[in-house]
């Protein structure tokens, strides 16, 4: 019977052409949207490597150019912040704190590996405690690094793999310029702070040494607050800090809020695409439904004949559902030819698993759609009285 249906559809390919193309395109659109969603979902399920709970973010920017004065103010501010009983930990950093709309990167080379690009995070020793970062190998920064010859860095596993492969990274020296070398002192398994929906990139932490560095102003200040610290404390802290830094702009937000607004960058287009896709699907469903309906009316006599030669009404219903599935299969096979190029040619560097999953899910949805659209018209077809269908004047 399945062969019979394929033959029937194949011989009717001209009249089924439109439906097949429609299914072909919806499959591709579904495939694209699902790849996008699955890609984001896959990233979302990966570990971040830090905890944003009860972490507050302060943005500090001086409004005057007097460097020496600003450096002094900066020192006073971090000391004041640490002295609040509500604050557990605090660390300066660059503006690329987790979920901020800011990125910094640099290229580095080690032996044969040239210009490996990596995210750079300038942080103080206490950053580890603020963000709950765990070091899996070697150690984090500490006061013992104050007198070290080289700039200590802590790298993530991704950078370790890209730069050193299987070699032990601890103690490796990376030349940066004529006077500077970085020394790898530790490795964290993960640090993926730009967005929950972005894949992890190679990254390293670079130590801020306020004693030594008398030039840099750090815009970011992250603090870990004790449970219960709320708006009242926020107001008090801003008031106190403004007293120290009269001409600075101070903004406070929480990492949770930053996470939410960063997530919107991905979820809003995702929802929009899903909506557009949904409308498209409804359109295709209506088309499918209409064509089926038309087909069944056009094939009234055929239905009567099939009943006459021994088809039960159930078999008529199954035939029409089967035909729609065969049409869907033709459309899917065409779509698959195209969609399979993505994982095979590794387009966009997405993991091929995501592509195959999207292909599977898109095919499933198309079949489901086809069945849902086919059931009602097919049932109607199965209810046609054979004598009426065969009636001839």
């Amino acid at each position: 019977m399945i062969r019979h249906l394929f033959k029937l559809i194949w011989n009717q390919k001209k009249s089924n052409f439109l439906l097949i193309t429609e299914i072909f395109f919806s499959f591709l659109v579904l495939f694209a949207v699902l790849s996008f969603i699955l890609y984001n979902y896959h990233n979302y399920t990966q570990p971040l490597g830090f905890k944003y709970d009860k972490v507050w973010q302060l943005w500090l920017s001086p409004n005057t150019d007097s460097a020496a004065h600003n450096i002094a103010v900066q020192q006073q501010m971090i000391q004041r912040v640490r002295s609040f009983p509500e604050v557990e930990h605090a660390s300066f950093s660059n503006s690329n704190t987790p979920f901020a709309f800011s990125q910094m990167n640099a290229g580095m080379s080690y032996k044969s590996k040239k210009d490996v690009f990596s995210e750079v995070f300038d942080v103080q020793d206490d950053y580890k405690n603020v963000m709950g970062i765990e070091v899996s190998r070697g150690r984090w920064f500490g006061p013992q690094d104050n007198g070290s010859l080289h700039d200590p860095i802590v790298i993530n596993k991704k950078l370790q793999e890209e730069l050193f492969g299987d070699e032990d990274p601890i103690g490796k020296l990376i030349p940066i310029d004529d006077s500077t070398q970085y020394a790898v002192i530790g490795v964290v398994d993960h640090y993926r702070s730009y967005s929950e929906f972005d894949p992890e990139k190679a990254a390293y932490f670079h130590r801020i040494n306020l004693e030594k560095d008398k030039n840099s102003i750090w815009n970011g200040l992250v603090i870990k607050v004790k449970p219960g610290a709320g708006v009242a404390f926020e107001e008090k802290m801003v008031r106190e800090l403004s007293r120290i830094s009269k001409d600075w702009t101070i903004e406070v937000t929480t990492q949770e809020k930053m996470r939410q607004s960063k997530a919107k960058v991905t979820t809003v287009p995702m929802i929009a695409m899903s909506l557009v896709c949904g409308f498209l699907i409804i359109n295709v469903a209506l088309g499918l439904f209409g064509v089926l309906w038309y087909n069944i009316n056009r094939r009234y006599a055929e239905i009567g004949l099939r009943r006459a030669i021994g088809a039960s009404s159930k078999q008529i219903r199954n035939q029409f559902v089967g035909e729609v599935l065969v049409i869907a299969t033709f459309g899917l096979l065409l779509g698959l030819l195209l969609a399979a190029q993505f994982p095979l040619l590794n387009v966009f560097q997405l993991s091929s698993v995501i592509y195959w999953e999207s292909i599977g899910a898109a095919a499933f949805l198309i079949f489901l759609l086809a069945i849902v659209c086919a059931i009602y018209p097919s049932r109607q077809a199965s209810k046609i009285f054979p004598a009426v269908a065969l009636h001839e004047e």
Binding site: M1, R3, H4, K7, L8, N11, Q12, A301, E302, G304, L305, R306, R307, A308, I309, G310, A311, S312, S313, K314, Q315, F385, P386, A387, L390, H391, E392
Partner: protein, 230 residues
Amino acid sequence: MIQLTDIEKVYRTKTIETVALNRVNLQIERGEFVSIMGPSGCGKSTLLNIMGLLDEPTSGFVAIDGQPVKTHSDSKLAKLRNEKIGFVFQSYHLIHDLSVVDNVELPLLYRSVSASDRRKRALEALEKVGLSARTKHFPNQLSGGQRQRVAIARALAGNPEIILADEPTGNLDSVMGEEIMDILLRLNQEEGTTIVMVTHDENMALKTNRLIRFFDGQQVADSMVIEAQI
């Protein structure tokens, strides 16, 4: 082999009620070649549909081989149609998107028959109607007479005990009509297939064993055709 008892068929639409069959009693015996004649609209097709289990009478009983079919399920009726009955229609009712041989295979599709067996039996049936050279053609590449021969082959492929033919020559000229009639006669005489045929052609009716005349939903005559009349 088919018994009709007190068959009544009434078509009801919103405005009118048509009595298509009015208390028809009829028994078709195995091996008979019965022809049915009567003016247009007198209920001949309705009668054939009821005999062929395509339609239910409004009242009365239909029995096949002594078995009443009234309580049969849809699939049981379908099975009976498939195995015992072959239909031939005035307008052939071939499926245009299928080749000749695929059309002939159709009844076997609703049985558990292997694809190769199906093909074999379809080709045999086509040979019986003299169309072995046209198996890969499509219906629109054939003449009316050839199409009707395909339809007969389709009825034969299922190896039915009875063929119900509703004006099988109605759309054909007399030469082609004769060809079809010859095939049916041969089937009846050589293979013993029971045939019930509706026709408007007195000459063809006279070639059969038994002639039933209908008028306004009622039998008005049922007589053996005597050789001498031909």
